[in-house]
Amino acid sequence: MHRAAYLAFDRFPSAKGSAVHIRHMAAELFDRYGGGLLCVLGGGELPAYQREGGVEIVRFTDVVPNLLDRAEAFSRWAADRLAPHRDTLEICHVRDPWGALPALSTGARLVYEANGLPSVELPYHWPLAAPSTLSKIRELEEHCLQESDAVVVPSRVILKAVTDRGAGPDRVHLVPNGADPVPADVPRPPTAPGRYVIYVGALQPWQGVDVLLRAFARLADLTDLTLVVCSSVSPARARPLRRLAERLGVRIQWEHQIPHADVAAWLAHAELSVAPLTAGPRNLDQGCSPIKVWESMAAGTAVVASDLPVIREVLGDHGRLVPPDRPAELARAIRVLLEYPDACRDLGERARRHVEDGFTWKHARARLADVYDRVEAH
């Protein structure tokens, strides 16, 4: 009989930043409550059921093609998984409305970790979603956020978005993402090219990878420089960007879905890490707390990133900010940093210290523990 449950309509584990986040947040929850139940999406080789010490992992494996149907089927499935633990469940930690609904029905305390909002996020993938549908999704979000005992957000931008949706400001807590320190002597990846600039992450349009490719096309005269893209998605999903890179004649090396443990080495040996996020509403209104930026900083690698409020929050003055969506400006910033390797190294070192002093996952877990303390005290 479990006292705690963590629910996420995400595949876990996976190569995405969200999986890193789930890993650390769920670990804090389960350490505190002597184990618990983790309800996530499965698929591929992932087993439908695992027991790891006091933790039971159950994965939703039904094939439901329609996303909305799938989300609702996940909710019903999760409700059935939670039911046997109703008498003992003290707390549920969720990441989306489809985990929040079954959690609310248990009567346990609810911590809603809002890393993003489906009403903002979905139209990017599902452009046919009607405004009336999105407003229903927003209502659902508002309901779940208002019913939560605590809402955890990774940035001030999304903090505003959730209070706009009716979450009481006294119940909303900032827990920025983090990154674990990278040992200074981490070996160079065997397949790494000589000098390279790196992008790590997914390839959705709002990530701005196309802007980076266009910027890189302007650096063709730097013949010893390669762009390495560590994509969290498969080669097939990278197809449009691969085509664009070919058309632009960019010197690029693709690394797909490499294990998270190997990413740090790729970051540490790069000249620079780039986070070219676009200035769309997804990044401006909803925000995010890009794990790639945290991890680059932790690796001591200088970051060049779009000048957006969410990035400024993470990077402060420990990196180089450039106007978003401007390939020429991005190219210039990269070129200047490459021309001053000492300044570049210094920037990376300062970023590393900043993370070590307050933004490792250990710090994030301690902040989450404070939230649990408060929720228990009420």
Partner: protein, 112 residues
Amino acid sequence: MTPCAVTTGFFTLGKCGQMAVAGCPACGRAVCADHLADGGLCPECAAARNRFGHPAAAAAARRRTYRQRQSQYYGDTVYYSGFDDYDRAAFEPGAAADQDYLDDGDDALVDS
């Protein structure tokens, strides 16, 4: 020695690999003593037959299922179905922004 073929790990998954003591009668995979569940099944098959977890949990689950049938135990919040066919149509696989982005099951609603 036949290694146990049960998948283990929280964030980094791998095969257990301990010496197997039995084969799961349902799926045939080799299972070590630590992973042997009720009825000689592997943990996954045992879970699929609802035998996993604490015995009390299984009993509670049976009670719940019964009660649920009796009295619509759950509140309506779980089955939020304010969505109609029109809403759903926009989320068919063919309605996504780009098929290239969907081929390995991008279920996550949010990717920070």
